[in-house]
Symmetry: D2
Subunit: 350 residues, 4 copies
């Protein structure tokens, strides 16, 4: 095929890396040309992820070994902090490269915000300026024209999708948004840590990063922009014993004159025609398992028993629409491919 | 032992019934004298719950077959609605009986509230009046003097314990309490329903009863009483893939002059000396698995990033402190036994 | 596309039915023309399985309502026992129909065996004779020429694939095959039964159908055929707390002169070129999660510490290669489509 | 109480250590006098295991810091290999000490066996000789007289309990014992390893240590002794997604004249009067969840469909009867306490 592009995946030994491979293997316009994993360089991908036994894939190499001349687009699935230097280096070698970055390094547009939330000055300020924030449905035009796309956080995507349209239409109080966002374990990655052992996380639940989770900064940025003023969201993530899925329960206070039905109507209109976003009938509650393994999002709006509040629920798969799937969707946009290509699969349920 | 009492458990074939048996088998002052299960009458308890293989227990009988003369106290673990008639009947036969009721039938003191939330007039209004609301730590004196104790809902106990003291001290805004309360499956009981099958609830999460869950009425009753005015809580329960545990994330707005630290201090003082309630150090977040299988509660208070809000977290085991354990605790109070008797076991973790 | 075929799925409200829909939505040569679910007729598929929200699918109808003239192939995902009559009725109306049956009704070729294991005489003896046993890799030619394909049981497929080649080559003792086959819950279907509730099956394991599980009859039939004599397998299924996956641990006694390495070599040769079967390197142990959600099978052979035995391990996803995926694979064979079409997706892991 | 003994737990920061604390807190004759955890010395136990918040417990110290003069009995829950030196050191300082060792270091009586299975010569041969093998029900007299008890492996206890009596009575073929033993994750301990992460082990199953798991050596030792000759068991452990529980499916070939019923009768007689062992009615299948969190064992015997084989099933909680519970039971025996003391709790189910 004439328009087959060559992609590299940096950080292929992590979960977002393997998820990219899974999705791209079904993409008709993509050739996986390079896979990197610094500490596992030299191994076959099937040694690191046995689900790929029998698949022809390039061996894992170091980032330094990539032949960038042969690469059209890079997915960067590396840890936060080190990513900015790596990407700056890639662009130095090849200005025309496209990069979809799954780390947090280019998500915040304001250098001061970055420093506040990440504790050190940004190392690639010029790139930070040009990066497009990658919630595809809300920023499609900027993404299409960018060479660097900052794929947003999984919690962030989940809450931004339903709340930004409501803030834009001034239907809810920007000062009183309460987000409780339950997530499965795969979002925590593959690093061996005691608190991520099966015995430590099965049969139980706990909050983490309370009052200070870094995805809050992405909510702030997008909520402020949407409402045209400072917003005030309280964000509490919960870790629950499942692999995949994010489930945001957002309690909102209605603006004067607004109703829960009006919220529902606005979301329905905003996302009419969007292939990946289903707004359920008013009052219906989504379940995370119905988007598991897919790039789909399900949204629900329910009235509270009193007149002034509503509960907005949003769910997606953290590794797909919350990471690698949205990255592929952004690749489709930036490359001019049909946006759903490689992402058509419905949820694996049960 | 001179002070051994005889108890009957009505509804022994359900999960709260079997949990009562588990706990009471370790209680030095209780003899399990009767077990009822109308549809399974005639069977051995070990046929219905094989964990009791080898234990000497009375066979399951119907309620009609109980010899009330030989019974000092009844635990009633029957479905909502039918319970009020059953208990009225018991008291008719034996006025001096003590009853700890685990259903919802006697939790609401106001008949109008009951009718609003349960859809029909209460059938035992006199008993409703005399029932003591059974959050032990907050209502000990009334419980000690009652013959009928209404054991509160599992979600209710979880949120009432941390929030009522804060409302009493006027430290938080009664108009803006947002409760998201994640629960395991055992709270849904043992009835065979499609939506409770393993394949329907594993690897996923969803909200239920949004905007209308009946435990809201118990929060209203206790929050109004504590604040001395109408309060306004939004309560959203989540169902998550675990057996046991409730985990309430309560986002509160601080009253003028209050701080998150002050909230923590108040809870610490309120529950100092309480054997079953641990207030964790300020900023520490509890985990439901650390109370699993036990009658203990863990509370945490964390400051939000802004000055005006705090996140209060409360967790307990829905079948123990959320149901059968608190029922035994209430039995201890009403019978004048040491309050911790039969309930000393720490959590089963991992 | 000229060669688009129209298929009907009978029993679309069960898990194998929804899995067929999931797979066929990605199949380039299939149109889902009819979906039946007698008790849920009239409902939209998305009401029964919300993962299909937004997908254009026919409404659920009764079997009687199908317009067979417009159907080329029927997937029958109905309960055992009633299926034989339904399929006989379909062929009466349309002799040229192709049917892939996922029930057990046509798996046993011998009417006496059927009666022994299912407790009643077969009601469609002529069809029973012509049905092709649908382990695709081992019976491809018969499948290609059949109009009725009996998709085998999930446990059966898992053990037949590794053991039949070893029996054919007389490498193992047919008298001493011990199969312990662990399965997830989705194989038990969607019927509301107490023993399938989350609380009854999470955090634990138990055997079921010990000494008498009906899939044993399929093992007997295929093992006898492969060894050319009566074989003797002991088959114990375990139910474990996961949704998807079967994991067969087969302990075999080596025939004189055979070695574990030779077993591995034979499987490697037998399945060389098979797109869905990966024989792992000698001594490597498969994991069920690496085939989850996919049509792939992973096989492993490990030597026991003594010289005379080996452990052969086989794993697949019970809803895909163990049911709906193999059904689609058989459809591909019988329709002359590329065998992997619609089935290329790799496992969803993690 | 006059007969209160002081115990130390070495390795209190691991799961068997915390389980010992949980059990001993309910034991009326034991004072927990010292807790060690070399790398976490100085911390409070509640920092390492928050379920102990509010319990008065000694701070964690190093082994070197223990005041042995004040200790009557030591539970040693340290890693294999290093344990033998530690225990030799303890006895050097205090000959009259009692030690219950939960490691593998003293389980094999034959130094050659130890060297074969552990890859190095034993460092404390004299102690190895005097250690009593701690399957309580089968070795009670030796345990009562020992100062060093080697608590057996969790898989070993599970299979030894049902199989040794059958071998002693020559009811089964010692040459053809096939054990498939499914275990939960907590047996793997608390070390941070990639393969033990929630995402790596949930929703799936796999075998491990196939053909070479070290618990095989304990089966060999006890099976050989029971049968009076060399036996031949094939042992395959499976890891399944649950925390607690071991479930052994043992396929046995009947000796001439034996029947499955006879096996059942023998186990029933052997364990009549044993407080912790329930032999279910013939043909009934145990479930691991019905012993979860308890020191109980449930055994079942089922006939295979042919006359010559039977399936013997045994289940227990790996952290209780498979480790810390049996250690406490052995302490009770060696100290002359009632054997069930501290261990009476029934399973936590659901």
């Amino acid at each position: 095929m004439a328009d087959l592009i060559n992609v590299a995946i940096l950080g292929a030994s992590g979960y977002t890396g393997s998820e990219l491979v899974r999705l791209l293997l079904r993409h008709p316009r993509v050739k996986i040309a390079a896979l990197t994993a610094d500490r596992k360089a030299g191994q076959a991908m099937a040694d690191v992820f046995p689900q790929f036994a029998g698949v022809e894939l390039p061996r894992l190499i170091t980032i330094a070994e990539i032949d960038l001349d042969a690469i059209d687009l890079v997915f960067c699935a590396l840890p936060h902090g080190t990513t900015q230097g790596v990407i700056a280096g890639l662009f130095e070698k090849k200005q025309t490269l496209k990069v979809v970055d799954l780390s947090a390094d280019f998500r915040l547009a304001d250098p001061a915000d970055y420093e506040t939330w990440y504790g050190h000055p940004h190392q690639a300020l010029e790139l930070q300026k040009e990066a497009a924030f990658g919630v595809t449905e809300l920023n499609r035009d900027a993404i299409a024209g960018a060479r660097l796309i900052a794929n947003p956080g999984c919690h962030s995507t989940t809450s931004i999708l339903p709340i930004v349209p409501l803030l834009r239409e001034k239907l809810i109080d920007p000062d009183n948004i309460v987000v409780v966002s339950a997530t499965g374990m795969s979002g925590a990655g593959r690093a061996a840590k005691e608190e991520m052992l099966f015995s430590e996380v099965s049969e139980g639940v706990h909050a983490y990063g309370v009052g200070k989770h870094r995805h809050t900064s992405e909510l702030d940025q997008e909520f402020d922009k949407a409402s045209g003023r400072l917003s005030r969201a309280t964000f509490t993530p919960l870790l629950i014993p499942m692999n995949r899925g994010i489930y945001a329960t957002v309690t909102v206070t209605l603006a004067a004159g607004a109703t829960a039905e009006k919220l529902h109507e606005t979301l329905t209109e905003t996302y009419a025609g969007e292939p990946f976003i289903a707004v359920l009938p008013f009052g219906k509650v989504p379940q995370s398992r119905h988007v598991r393994g897919s790039n789909f999002v399900q949204l629900g709006v329910v009235a509270d028993r009193g007149p002034d509040r509503a509960i907005v629920i949003s769910t997606l798969d953290n590794l797909v629409k919350g990471a690698s799937g949205q990255a592929v969707q952004n690749m489709n946009v930036v490359c001019g491919f049909p946006e759903t290509e490689g992402l058509e699969s419905r949820a694996v349920f049960p």
